[in-house]
């Protein structure tokens, strides 16, 4: 994995301080952890302790354990921020058949920001992401326990309308997956299916044709995704004829056309070349002004560049650390996360 030079100098300083921490403090941490858990399982109430600095003053119990077989501590994943959580996950366990892919993950995601999920491959990042819009329902044998709330509403509750949920939580996949249709139809697909746009023979016969609205919507979505200039003269062409980077931006535009609140992105740039990647990264930062973006990446520099907060998953499907991105990269709390962001494994 890539190195993270900017975190190098401070980290070694911090580390030496951490090594001095006593075992006695570690013993005390259990209670604090339990308290944190209980406050979370209680619901999607605001983070305990009221508004805290985004930079995250480390709780006293945080840096206690030294070596790599350390226990993960709930305090390390207890990230405090202003305002309400857009997405709130508590005690999420996910199984594929007998195999557990996520183990008691709790995490609150603030609105209108970029949250990066990093971790070695196979640690459950994609699984976590798919839990948020219930795409795991499609996988045979997948089982989800725990609570995921979107704006305080339980995503896995009874009578949840998947259509409504996925309208609010859009998703962009690792491989660009445009529909084998024209660029225009790709963008207007979602609004049409949701009944926001009426086109077609019947609508035309009844004089309800929304073609102007469709044109505006297509243009707006494509401009928002920084693709308009490249494709405005060939909206009728098959989307599969676009380059990979364009396809991915088209997928983002397609997602924006539905006007979701949350956008999930699963390694959106991993199949792209550096230039296309840069465009996507700029786009993500811009989107954060309006949308809540959760992005999985295995590129740590990318996470450092674009995200406001970062969650680090480690093997076994456990959330190791969750904090402001600066804190994660410059001042990680646990040895394993430090090793990981330093590129020692993963």
């Amino acid at each position: 994995m890539s190195d993270t030079p900017q975190s190098e100098p401070r980290r070694s300083d911090d580390r030496s301080g951490a090594d001095d921490a006593t075992a006695a403090a570690a013993a005390g941490s259990t209670d604090a952890a339990a308290a944190a858990v209980s406050s979370k399982t209680g619901g999607i109430a605001g983070p305990p302790g009221g508004p805290g600095g985004v930079d995250g003053d480390e709780p006293a119990v945080a840096r206690t354990v030294g070596e790599s077989d350390e226990q993960l501590q709930d305090a390390w994943t207890d990230y405090e921020f202003d305002g309400d959580a857009k997405v709130s996950v508590s005690d999420l366990d996910t199984y594929y058949g007998e195999e557990r892919a996520l183990e008691s993950v709790s995490l609150d995601i603030p609105a209108e920001s970029v949250t990066a999920l990093i971790g070695p491959s196979g640690c459950g990042k994609s699984t976590f992401l798919r839990c948020l819009n219930r795409m795991n329902d499609r996988i045979r044998g997948a089982r989800v326990e725990g609570r995921v709330a979107l704006d305080d509403r339980d995503v896995y509750g009874d009578g949840v309308n998947l259509v409504e949920l996925r309208r609010q939580v859009g998703m962009v996949f690792q491989e660009p997956n445009p529909f084998p249709k024209s660029i225009r139809d790709n963008i207007s697909y979602g609004p049409r299916k949701h009944g926001d746009l009426e086109t077609g023979l019947l609508a035309r016969l009844l004089g309800r044709d929304d073609r102007d609205a469709e044109r505006d919507l297509v243009e707006r979505a494509l401009r928002r995704a920084a693709l308009w200039d490249e494709v405005s003269d060939r909206l009728g062409d098959n989307a599969l004829g676009l380059s990979g980077g364009q396809q991915q931006r088209l997928c983002i535009a397609r997602c924006l056309a539905v006007d979701p609140d949350v956008i999930l992105m699963d390694e959106p740039a991993s199949a792209l070349d550096p230039v296309a990647t840069a465009k996507i990264e700029d786009l993500i930062e811009e989107l954060a002004e309006e949308y809540t973006v959760v992005v999985v990446t295995h590129n740590m520099q990318q996470a450092a560049r674009i995200s406001d907060q970062t969650a680090v998953f480690l093997t076994g499907g456990r959330l190791a650390e969750y904090d402001a991105t600066d804190a994660i990269f410059q001042n990680p709390q646990s040895q394993r996360v430090e090793d990981y962001v330093a590129g020692k494994f993963g």
Partner: protein
């Protein structure tokens, strides 16, 4: 059942003469002398054996023996060269079967064409099919019969088959699919003579008793049975096509909040449409070529129903049934006319097959990103 070719090595487009010369040079430089000799003897002896067999010579056994002996010896000395030559000959043999079918059907139908002229396909006046006066053989009623049964079968098999394919590939939970899919395949396995026997004793009798058809046996009953028989072809191939639409595209649609049915209707079906049409085309081909069920169910009375869509008339003969029913004891021009029927059948089905391959090839190119 079309195959997807996953490895796409671009065909080298060169001037054929230059290309052949170059490949010949390459071949020579890569292959040892013994290997060349073995391959030459193998190919030569088998070619000779084929020619001898073709002319009906009793000496066929000698070149065939040489071929076998060389192959055995070559297998022990020059296995790679022998293997390559033998597999090459097997490939040629496959194409050869088709070529032989074409050649022999054409050759044997020449007398009928000479005897009847265009009347072989177009004669509509009585007598249509009789041995008297040197023989009058018009395939026109059989063409009409084939068209009628094929239409009925297609009308049944297409919607049901596509619905079945959508069900298996898009709707059914895995457990249900594990039952339904083999069930449909089994339907393709039931011998056509069994379908015919059931059609004869159940359907024909039913139509005769309830709808008072003039004869026991009608185009509708036979067409319906053929439709059931063509159904599995449509289902299997359409299902292949729907399954070939990438899962990522379907997930993309679902993740946008469209319902599974909207995804099927607006994304999967349009993307797989070519494959589905290929399935329908092959289903039509199956229906046209279906022989035994129609042979035992139809009346073998040649004539034109009037109006043409009167599917309950006393007439009942198709291209396949006339060959199966009369082929056993026909001779001369009569037999030749049956061969001409075979040619018509073969050409039509071949066109359907090539058409479906073309359509499917286009689908894979489209899904591959070319517009």
């Amino acid at each position: 059942m079309m195959r997807r070719v996953k490895r796409t090595v671009a065909a080298r487009v060169t001037d054929p003469v230059v290309g052949v010369a170059r490949s010949a040079r390459e071949y020579r430089s890569r292959t040892g002398d013994t290997a060349v000799a073995v391959q030459a003897v193998i190919c030569g002896s088998l070619g000779a054996a084929f020619v001898a067999f073709l002319v009906g010579s009793q000496w066929t056994v000698f070149p065939a023996g040489v071929f076998l002996a060389t192959t055995v010896v070559g297998w022990r000395r020059e296995q790679a060269a022998t293997g390559k030559a033998v597999t090459f000959l097997m490939t040629v043999g496959t194409v050869g079967v088709l070529a032989l079918i074409v050649a022999f059907l054409l050759v044997r139908s020449v007398p009928a064409v000479e005897h009847m002229g265009v009347g072989l396909l177009g004669r509509t006046a009585d007598p249509l099919w009789a041995a008297r006066d040197g023989g009058v053989y018009s395939l026109a009623p059989m063409l009409v019969g084939t068209a009628i049964t094929t239409c009925i079968a297609t009308v049944i098999a297409t919607p049901v088959g596509i619905a079945g394919a959508v069900f298996i590939s898009e709707i059914a939970p895995p457990r249900v699919r594990d039952v339904v899919k083999p069930g449909i395949e089994l339907m393709a396995g039931i011998p056509s003579i069994t379908y015919g026997f059931i059609g004869l004793t159940v359907l024909n009798q039913y139509f005769y008793a309830e709808f008072r058809t003039p004869t026991i046996g009608s185009y509708l009953a036979a067409g319906a049975m053929i439709g059931v028989m063509a159904l599995p072809t449509v289902v299997t191939i359409s299902e292949d096509a729907l399954a070939a639409v990438p899962e990522s595209v379907k997930s993309g649609a679902l993740a946008m909040g469209s319902t599974p049915w909207q995804t099927t209707k607006s994304v999967t079906l349009p993307a797989g449409l070519s494959g589905v049409s290929a399935g329908v085309l092959l289903g039509v081909g199956r229906a046209m070529g279906e022989t035994m069920a129609a042979t035992v169910m139809l009346t073998h009375t040649k004539g034109f129903p009037s109006p043409v869509f009167d599917v309950f008339s006393q007439y009942g003969e198709t291209l396949t049934t006339v060959i199966a029913f009369e082929g056993g004891n026909a001779s001369g021009v009569h037999m030749s006319a049956l061969f001409a029927g075979g040619v018509v059948l073969f050409v039509t089905v071949m066109a359907l097959s090539v058409g479906s391959q073309y359509v499917e090839w286009r689908m894979h190119r489209k899904l591959g990103g070319e517009t």
